[in-house]
């Protein structure tokens, strides 16, 4: 166990959890490279938690880079901007990596800009992000710019960011925790953003803090990314930002775990960090916030890790939202012959994808390509009640009992074991010697209980 010096209220760690092999070696040293602009993008109109966005453009309409093509469809919603100049195609439905069927609008890139993505890196990640400018913006202006830029959380859950930082009269916020843990194995996108745009991260953090009124500001980074901490340190110096090095342990990036490790507070089951006076934001989201406020740029691109044993050249790619997975895989040298599984996200909480036309969304943090060696399926045996799942569950649940209750459709029993509190982090399935698909059973149980 790594001993970590702690200069924040929490202990730098949380109870239970696991430490799977990190598998970050393939992409962690690869600088962010820019994906040449693809010929066609499939832009889903629901890329976040909340109501779908409402389409504003008609087929055959010309759009320019950054133009709003769909507006927020409710309070918890976010507008969508075109990442390229081009022509809108006919809308259709598409299945996202997480299994949801959502409306989608294709955008065909104008022929003169296909393949040319020059200057995008400088535009998005490079240059100066002067902290002196922060005084120019009032909290209301910051919230408004975040809202207009269509920013949603980039950690995966994709909650509209402006809602998080909006001041809430009933629940005052005193702490902002920026989640730079990136505890999923394989993924390195957040790590690269911290290394390559540290000033943008600090600027975005301070802007978010100003908007939300948080006085205590922490950036939590796992101890296996000390280079990111060092990259951030010069820009954090002299500001209110505390760099909080936390223990490398899965699921440190889960917000309940991060908040507990950094502030020592416990988010109530079914509640939000707001209930304990905390706002949590992914580190890549801070970069989007800085870009929106300081440079007036909407969220059209994000950094995606394409990695795993099955990909020829693992990379961290700056790519437009809506790009099909196939384009990203081709850009990274294609799949190897023994590829067995393609996962949107990391191996612990990601979704296996069958169709490579599936587009990336604002919440896609990576593509993990696994080979036959990685996924060798072992036979499922009966539960031997060893309790390993109980020993690792970070939420103090009894996964085996919840899963068996769900399997037997005994909803009363499942409730007795608090199935609704499960965050589906997968620690239990990872530890199960009998190879029982605990998370799938629990997830299925939760869905069926809601339907009833």
């Amino acid at each position: 166990m790594t001993k970590v010096a702690v200069n924040y209220p929490g202990k730098g760690t949380f109870e239970r959890g696991i430490h799977p092999p990190e598998m970050k070696q393939w992409a962690e040293d690869k600088s962010i490279s820019v994906l040449p602009t693809p010929k066609e993008l499939y832009i889903p109109l629901l890329q976040h938690v909340g109501a779908p966005a409402k389409l504003l453009v008609a087929p055959k309409e010309q759009v320019v880079y950054g133009q709003v093509i769909a507006e927020a469809g409710g309070f918890i919603s976010a507008p969508i901007h075109s990442p390229v100049a081009g022509v809108v195609g006919r809308g259709a439905n598409i299945t996202l990596a997480n299994g949801r069927h959502v409306p989608m609008v294709p955008v065909v890139t104008a022929s003169d800009s296909v393949g040319a993505a020059d200057g995008i890196y400088e535009d998005m990640l490079g240059g100066e992000w002067p902290l002196s400018l922060l005084d120019d913006f009032s909290p209301e202006e910051i919230v408004d710019k975040i809202k207009q830029a269509g920013i949603v959380g980039q950690g995966g859950a994709a909650f509209p960011t402006f809602v998080k930082v909006l001041k809430n009269k009933d629940k005052p916020v005193d702490a902002l925790v920026i989640n730079g843990c990136e505890c999923e194995p394989y993924l390195t996108a957040d790590h690269r953003v911290m290394l390559e745009a540290p000033q943008a991260v600090i600027a975005g953090t301070l802007l978010a803090a100003k908007a939300s009124g948080a006085k205590a500001i922490y950036i939590a980074v796992e101890s296996n990314k000390m280079d990111a901490v060092e990259a951030l340190r010069p820009y954090a110096q002299g500001t209110a930002v505390t760099l909080a090095v936390v223990e490398t342990r899965y699921p440190m990036g889960g917000e309940k775990q991060t908040v507990r490790a950094v502030t020592g507070r416990t988010i109530p089951t079914g509640g939000l960090p707001l209930d304990v006076g905390v706002v949590v934001m992914n580190v890549s989201t801070t970069w989007a916030v800085a870009r929106a406020v300081l440079r007036g740029k909407p969220l059209t691109h994000r950094v995606i890790t394409v990695t795993g044993r099955g990909i020829a050249e693992p990379k961290n790619v700056l790519a437009p939202v809506g790009v099909p997975l196939q384009e990203l895989i081709d850009f990274c040298g294609g799949l190897k012959a023994d590829t067995a599984r393609i996962i949107a996200g990391g191996p612990m909480m990601g979704f296996t994808v069958g169709n490579l036309k599936t587009p990336v969304t604002k919440g896609t943090s990576g593509i993990t390509v696994m080979t036959l060696d990685d996924v060798h399926e072992e036979e499922t045996t009966h539960c031997v009640r060893c309790g390993r799942c109980v020993d690792v569950c970070p939420l103090n649940l009894i996964p085996t009992k919840m899963a068996l209750a769900a399997k037997n459709k005994d909803w009363e029993l499942a409730k007795k074991y608090h199935i609704g509190a499960c965050m589906e982090c997968g620690c239990c399935a990872y530890s199960c010697p009998a190879n029982i698909p605990l998370v799938q059973l629990i997830r299925m149980g939760k869905v069926q209980m809601l339907k009833k």
């Binding site: 507990r260 089951t269 079914g270 009966h382 031997v384 060893c386 608090h418 509190a421 190879n435």
Partner: protein, 301 residues
């Protein structure tokens, strides 16, 4: 980690006990182990075939049951004791409940309880004393019987190294500790259970002996207490899954062992203590559902 790997860990953890048993009881111990393991594996094959269930030999659980059963028997018990014990252990205690993971009671202990009641003379206290044995250890009563019947205290050194009489696996206290610690370190056994068993037995022994440390050490290292605490009570299938439940279970086993040792006609109580507590495990699991981090799930209307 797989189920098979877990069973392998248990077998590795048993190695010190097996070696001690072989040194003390030689060929008789070897024969007993071969008989029980072979009979358990064969019984598993036959009974799963009768149930038309999947063949479950590969997971190694039948071999583990056989080995633990053998180690819990006297080396000199006749061959049919081992065979019958195995058949009962696998057939009556495991496969009819649905196989691995479904049984309520520790299979090896059910098998042993059956032969103990069926053949009291061949496995009871008198079975351990074989007057014309060539091995010195076999001419003595077990330490617990000596204590109970004639107040003879076996020196601690003998108890630790295994130079005493007893069931094959229980004579060497050091071997039990060594293998048991390995088991806990590999997480093939929940550490709370042996700690709770040993601690509760030690406390009761301390109180009942008028605070005699040597009596406590004798109590702990004689008989099957350590063997039972580390290798029998920790059977994952028949012990609770929650940490709090494991404490309750372990303390229950420790208390029952001491009660049986002090108050019953038997010199030893591990087997019945474990079986008694096995019966309460479903209840313990239900009593000890922990509160999730952040409190219970709020009820929505």
């Amino acid at each position: 980690m797989s189920t098979q790997g877990m069973m392998r860990d248990v077998l590795v953890g048993l190695v010190p006990l097996i070696l001690t048993g072989l040194v003390v009881f030689r060929g008789a111990a070897l024969a007993q182990m071969v008989i029980c393991v072979a009979a358990c594996v064969a019984a598993e094959l036959v009974f799963t075939a009768m149930r038309k269930g999947p063949v479950s030999i590969k997971d190694g659980s039948a071999a583990v049951t056989g080995m633990i059963l053998a180690l819990s028997l006297p080396a000199t018990a006749p061959w049919f004791v081992g065979v019958l014990g195995s058949v009962v252990a696998i057939g009556l205690s495991k496969v009819i409940f649905g196989g691995l993971g479904q049984n309520l009671f520790n299979p090896a202990m059910v098998g042993r309880a059956f032969v103990m009641i069926a053949f009291p003379a061949m496995i009871g206290a008198s079975a351990y004393v074989v007057q014309d044995a060539s091995v010195h250890a076999l001419t003595m009563a077990t330490p617990l019987t000596s204590l109970k019947m004639s107040g003879v205290v076996t020196p601690l050194g003998q108890l630790l190294t295994g130079a005493t009489n007893g069931s094959i696996g229980e004579t060497g206290a050091l071997a039990c500790l060594l293998g048991g610690i390995y088991l806990c370190w590999r997480r093939a056994a929940a550490w709370q259970i042996p700690v709770a068993v040993i601690a509760s037995a030690a406390v009761i022994s301390l109180l009942s002996s008028g605070f005699s440390i040597s009596a406590v050490l004798h109590e702990l290292s004689a008989g099957a207490l350590l063997f039972g605490a580390f290798f029998i009570a920790t059977d994952p299938v028949t012990s609770p899954v929650t940490p709090r439940g494991r404490w309750i279970f372990g303390i229950g086993v420790g208390c029952f062992i001491m009660m049986l040792r002090k108050l019953s006609g038997y010199p030893e109580g591990v087997m019945f203590a474990v079986l008694l507590m096995n019966a309460v495990v479903p209840l313990i699991n239900r009593w000890t559902i922990p509160e999730p981090l952040g409190g219970p799930v709020p009820v929505r209307n």
